[in-house]
Amino acid sequence: MTEGSIVGSFIVPVHPHTVLAPEQNEGWQRLRDAFDEAAQRIKDADADLLIIYSTTWPSIIGHQIQADPNPEWVMVDNDFHDLGSIPYSFNIDADFAHAWNVANEKRGLKSRTVNYTGFPIDVGSVVALKLLNPDNAIPAVIVSSNVYANRSETTVLAKSCLDVIKATGRKAVAITAMSLSNRMFTAPIDPKDDRIHSLKDDEWNRKILEFLGEGRLEDVGQLSRTIHQQIRVQKVVAFKPMWWLSGMNDNRNNLSGEVLAYEAIHGAGGAVVHLDPTPSGAGDKEYDEDDVEFFSGERNVLDAEEEHELIEDSVAPTSSGPELWEPTTGEHSVNSEAAPKPVGMYPHARKVGDLLYLSGVGPRQPGTNAIPGGPICDENGQALDYDIKAQTKAVVDNITRILEEAGGSIEDVLDVTSFLVDMDRDFSGYNEVWAETLGKVGPTRTTLAIRALPTPIAVEMKVIARAPTTE
C-alpha cells in the first residue's frame, strides 16, 4: 500500500445562504459557483476521504468525531431559519473516525466519537458536505472545534489525523468550514445590500486571502492570534481552523493556493479557497512558532490518574547545542535573514575590497535550526545515523543564500576550506555533492578532518568569494 496523503485542502464559508438562497445575491451565487468548482476539483483529484474541521461545532470535553455511518436529519439555522430547511443524509467513514480517535489519545488529546440518531450536525458541516460532496460519493469525517483549545492542541489534532491517513493509504481532502471576519449585521438586511461588515474586516480578509493565494498557509496559521483580535467576534478563545489546516499540510508555506471566491454573507467574510499540495516555490516562513508533536497541556482537572505517557521513541530529535547569536553588524558586515544564526559573536560575512569572507557555513536551516540529513548525535551525545549528502547539499544552499543576500551568486565562490568530522565515512558522499554543485563553479578547495564542530553537524565550509560589484 502506498502511503496516504492530503491531495488538496479547501476553506469554505459556513452560513446556509449558498445552499438555500444563492439566487438572492450575486455574491452568494459566486460563492455557490465556487463551491461547485471545488466539488469538481475534489472529484478530479480522485479523493477517497473528506475531513471537515468545523468552527460551528463546539465541544468542551476534548474533540468529538462524528461516527454515525449515515446521519440523517433536517438542519435549520439558528439565525437564518426563514431561509428554509436543509435535509441531509451523509456518508460517514466510521472506521476512520474510530482510528482518528485512537490516534488522538496516543498523542495526548482528549477525544471521543459520537454516534447517536438525531445528532444535530452543525450548519458549517452540513453546508460543506451538501455542496462539496453532492452525491455522497466520497466518505467523510467531521471533527468538532474545542472551545478551550489553543494552538498546540489544534496542531496535534491534525497530526494524529495525518497519522491515520498515512497508515491507511487514504487520499484525503482537508476542509475547514469557517468565516474569515465573522461579524455579521445584527439586524436583517435586504440581500442585495449585503457587504463585508466593515472596511477593516474587508482589508484583513483580503490580506489573508493574498497569503493563501500565495500558498502561505503556515504564515496565516501563525497570524491566527492577530486575526482573532482584529476581525473575529470574541465568541471562543482563539481563531483555530488555520492551525488545523496548516498542521494537515505539514505546516508548509509553499502550497499552490487559489482563491475561488470571496464575498460577504450577511456581513461576514466568506471565501472558497483551494490549496493544492504542489510546491509553489514560495519562500520561507515569516514566523517560526514551535512545532509540537504531542499534547501535554492542562487537561487533568478531575484527578491525576489519567496522566498521559508521552511516546518518547517517536518524538523527532530536537536540536540542541550552543546558544544562537544575532550576527554582529559592524562596518563591512554582510548578514542574511536567510542564513542560520551564528553560534558566537561574528557576522555571516565581511567584505574587504573586492573579496567577501564568509564565516564557516554549516547545514543548519534558518528559522527552524533543523539539520537536513539529521544530527550526528542526540542530546546525550549518542551517535545517530545521518545523511552526509543531505548535509553537504544544505551547506551549499546556505552559502548560496548568503551570497544572494549580498547581491551576488554561487558563481562568485573563489576558494573553499571544508571541514569533515568523519573523513573515512563521509568524504565520498561529500565529494559527490561537491561535484554536482561547487565543483561546477570551480573554486580551489582544501578538505580537512577535524574532531568536532560546535553543533551536531558533520560538515562545514569556509568560503572566500568575489564581492558583488553593485553599489
Partner: protein, 300 residues
C-alpha cells in the same frame, strides 16, 4: 380585562446532566442518579409553586444563540428529538412542547416598537435547544403549561456586557409590560448557570459525584457573592456588577438571561429564595425564586 401578573421569577439552570440524572422516560440515556443537591433544589422550587395558578412560562435560554437580534419560537407546537451536541452521551430527549403564540407575539411586537431587532421563528423543522428543554423539564416535567421561548442575542460577544445589558434591560421592560397587559399569570425564567468554567474531562461514570466540585475557589467566591445579593434583595447591585462577574467568573449570564430576568421583575428589592446550589462539571449553578406574588408592592 384583568391585569396580568408575574407570579414568580426564577433562575433555573439547564445543564443536561440534571435531566440525565432524573431518568425521565423522554430521555434515552440511563443514569445512576447524581447532582442531587440541584435536583432537590428543583423539587423545592416546584413545591413552592405547586399551589400557585399560572397560565404560561416565559423562558430565555442561552443555547438558542442568535446574532441577528432576538428571536421567539412562533408556532403553537414543537415536537422532535433534542440531542445535546456537547453531551450527546447524556441528553437525547424526545420533547413535545406548546407555545403561547399570543403572548409571544405581544412581547415580540412591543420589543419591535421599542427599537429592538426581533424575529419570529416559524420554521416547523426547527429543533428546540437543549437548554430550553432541560429547564422546561426540570421546572415542569408534566409540560402542561405553554411556553414563550426567547433566544439569547449574543450582543455581549459582538459588543460588550454593558451593551448586552442595556438591550436585555429594555427587553425585560417590554416583557413585563406585555405580560401585565395580557391579563395572564406568568412565571418568568432565566435559564443559566452562574460561574461557568467547565472541566474539559469527563469521568468514566459522568454521575460519579466524588469527582464533582467547583473548578476554582475564585469561581466559588463569585457565586457566593451573587447568591448573597439574591437573598438580600440587591438586584440593582447584581446589574451593576454584571460586567465584572461575567468576565471574571466566565459566567453564563453572558447570554443575557439574568439581566433580562431582573429587569422583567422590575429590579426587585425583596429577598429571593435560594432553593439549591451545586456544581456541574465544575460550573456553579443556583436555583433561585423571586416570589413576586408575595410582594404586592412590587406589582404594578
Amino acid at each position: 380585562m384583568t391585569q396580568g401578573e408575574i407570579v414568580a421569577g426564577c433562575l433555573a439552570p439547564h445543564p443536561p446532566h440534571l435531566v440525565y440524572a432524573e431518568n425521565p422516560p423522554q430521555n434515552e440515556p440511563v443514569a445512576e442518579g447524581g447532582w442531587e443537591q440541584l435536583r432537590w433544589g428543583y423539587e423545592r422550587l416546584r413545591d413552592s409553586l405547586k399551589d400557585v395558578e399560572y397560565d404560561a412560562i416565559v423562558l430565555l435560554s442561552p443555547h438558542w444563540q442568535t446574532y441577528v437580534g432576538t428571536h421567539f419560537l412562533g408556532l403553537p407546537n414543537f415536537k422532535s428529538l433534542s440531542v445535546d451536541p456537547v453531551f450527546p452521551n447524556l441528553f437525547r430527549y424526545h420533547y413535545d412542547l406548546n407555545i403561547d403564540v399570543d403572548l409571544t407575539s405581544k412581547i415580540h411586537d412591543k420589543a419591535a416598537k421599542a427599537g429592538l431587532t426581533v424575529k419570529m421563528m416559524e420554521n416547523p423543522d426547527f429543533r428546540v435547544d437543549y437548554g430550553t428543554i432541560t429547564t422546561g423539564h426540570m421546572f415542569n416535567p408534566a409540560w402542561d403549561k405553554p411556553l414563550v421561548v426567547i433566544s439569547s442575542n449574543r450582543s455581549r460577544d459582538y459588543y460588550s456586557v454593558e451593551v448586552m445589558q442595556e438591550m436585555m434591560i429594555e427587553l425585560g421592560k417590554v416583557t413585563r409590560e406585555a405580560i401585565l397587559e395580557s391579563g395572564k399569570k406568568v412565571v418568568v425564567i432565566a435559564s443559566n448557570s452562574l460561574s461557568h468554567r467547565h472541566f474539559t474531562t469527563e469521568s468514566a461514570i459522568p454521575e460519579d459525584m466524588s469527582k464533582e466540585h467547583i473548578t476554582s475557589h475564585a469561581m466559588h467566591l463569585w457565586d457566593m457573592r451573587m447568591i448573597n445579593y439574591f437573598r438580600t434583595g440587591q438586584a440593582q447591585r447584581i446589574l451593576d456588577e454584571m460586567p465584572e462577574f461575567t468576565e471574571q467568573a466566565i459566567a453564563e449570564s453572558d447570554g443575557g438571561g439574568l439581566s433580562w430576568l431582573l429587569s422583567t421583575l422590575d429590579t426587585p428589592s425583596y429577598p429571593a429564595t435560594l432553593h439549591g446550589y451545586g456544581t456541574i462539571i465544575g460550573t456553579g449553578n443556583a436555583i433561585v425564586e423571586w416570589p413576586e406574588r408575595d410582594h404586592k408592592e412590587a406589582k404594578q
